[in-house]
Amino acid sequence: MAKKQKLQAKVLSQRILAEGIYDMWLETPLAKDVCPGQFVGVFPTNKSTLLPRPISICEVNEERTAIRLVYRVVGSGTAEFTFYQPGDYIMILGILGNGFPVKEAAGKKAVVMGGGIGVPPLLETAKSLSSLEEKAATVSAVMGYRNKETFLSDEFEKCSNLYIATEDGSIGTKGNVIDAMNEMNIDCDVIFACGPMPMLKAIKTYAAAKGIKAYISLEERMACGVGACLGCVCKTKNVDDHSHVKNARICTDGPVFDADDIDI
């Protein structure tokens, strides 16, 4: 694993992707070693806020010199990020987390499933699945949105068979990603998922019922991001190596877990 670092990254571009959702490319040597599903900590410069904001890596450019972050504005940190212009520098901490075990999908029918701000990390995941040495047999993407204000869907279309579910039924299946799986009869051996907790719970249940392997990416409040503070734990089924109390650290042991191993 690459050494973790805190370092300056240069903003290459920034644009609005959808209402309240921004898309920023950062030049950084960290790009070299990214696995899909990993994340960085982004530091606001505002000195009232000292902790890094965990943001998933949405994409890595072909030369592996830059990473793409897609984020939703929810508070003071993300609001600050929107002001960054090309040429500005920001401090980031990375690369953090384990990432999706995409190689496990070799030869299999893989489905990436995302909802809300869980969608971005799945783009790099879907791209990886179709460019592995031993590729996945099929790569489908099932993305849940609130309404027709979708984002990144055009890009998923390029690297996967895209299915959309919307809460209001304005595009695709009306309902959630599981409804789409059922309605569209999507073939699936392994799932890579990221999104809100109710969605992840539904996927865990769905996968267990169908005997499908599911890897899900969790979210929790973090302080250090590197496994030291024990702030970001989730319950695991078995005693884990690190904590010995069934508490895995999402920032280091995760954010991606085998759905069977965790208690959500």
Binding site: K4, L50, R221, A223, A228, L230, H244, V245, N247
Partner: protein
């Protein structure tokens, strides 16, 4: 050659910069960023006689100039700690201080005895001030008779020198410091976190599952400096000062208030290089003002 080394209870530290317990794991997680050999000491996360689960999440939340935490002293128990964390630290040439927690005096004693023959352990820091566990812990740190009693009983059994880690959530830190000294503590460390609370007014919920959490970071520095100063004027045993230290200037401030050594806590999360930087910046200060011995700065502001 300027001297940055300090001594506490016969243990010599190459410099006065330590890690604050619970913010640095056992060093492993920060070894990508910091050369542990450059630190005065690694102070480990609190360890109990048996594994502790800690509190439900959310356990951390950000506040102005700092954070609240209610980890609840999750730890794998002293056995795993000794076999894994201490063995990891074997590789390093730095002092090791083990932070000890418990729910009863007996819990503490069990840990202290288990570690008694561990050569890798230079000192024990007794955490009687964690605000995030319901039983024991802070109760010992908020009552001077209880503090005296637990200190005395641990001192009787401990093979390494003991540091009592005091709570700032008290009316008089001097009284607490005196109680620890009177009971035989070799040193005291302060401050632990100040109990705080944050409410999410949109969700109408506490930001932490535990409701309250411990406040740390630059926000608490003035309180910490004041308490170190008061304690230094109340007792003669050495003091390890902490609370919001982010750079060399902060460290010097604590030393001038009377601390023999200092620890960097929450600011590791903001700047994972902080500990090593503090060491370097202390050296720059000594250079700039031609201070030949760091010990000559201790308590010079009276």
């Amino acid at each position: 050659m300027r001297n940055t080394s300090v001594e506490i209870a016969g243990v010599k530290f190459k410099n006065p910069v330590m890690t604050a317990s619970g913010t640095f794991g056992s060093g492993m997680e920060y070894s990508d960023f910091v050369d542990l050999n450059k630190l005065g000491a690694v102070v480990t996360k609190g360890v109990a006689n048996v594994p502790w689960e800690g509190n439900p999440v959310p356990r951390v939340t950000e506040v102005y100039g700092g954070m609240l935490n209610a980890i609840g002293l999750q730890n794998p128990g002293v056995e795993v700690f000794a076999e894994r964390d201490l063995r990891f630290l074997d590789k390093y040439d730095t002092r090791v201080i083990v932070n000890v927690c418990g729910k009863s005096v007996e819990d503490y004693l069990e840990v202290v005895e288990r570690l008694g023959d561990e050569k890798r352990v230079d000192m024990l820091e007794i955490n009687v001030s964690c605000p995030n566990v319901k039983e024991g812990a802070i109760a010992f740190g908020q009552n001077k008779d209880a503090l005296f009693d637990i200190t005395k009983r641990i001192k009787e059994k401990a093979k390494q020198p003991i540091i009592m880690k005091l709570s700032p959530n008290v009316t008089s830190i001097s009284e607490m410091a005196k109680a620890a000294e009177a009971a035989g503590a070799d040193a005291i460390s302060l401050i632990n976190t100040i109990t705080g609370m944050k409410i999410d007014i949109h969700k109408r919920k506490f930001a932490l599952a535990n409701k309250t959490g411990g406040l740390s970071g630059p926000a608490i520095k003035p309180v910490a400096v004041r308490m170190v100063y008061e304690a230094a004027h109340a007792v003669n045993i050495p003091i390890i000062g902490m609370g919001g230290i982010a750079n060399g200037s902060d460290a010097i401030e604590f030393i001038m208030a009377g601390a023999t050594a200092v620890a960097v806590g929450a600011m590791n999360f903001h700047d994972p290089y902080a500990t090593e930087k503090v060491v370097e910046e202390i050296e720059s200060y000594m250079e700039r003002y031609d201070v030949s011995d760091i010990n000559s700065l201790r308590g010079i502001v009276e």
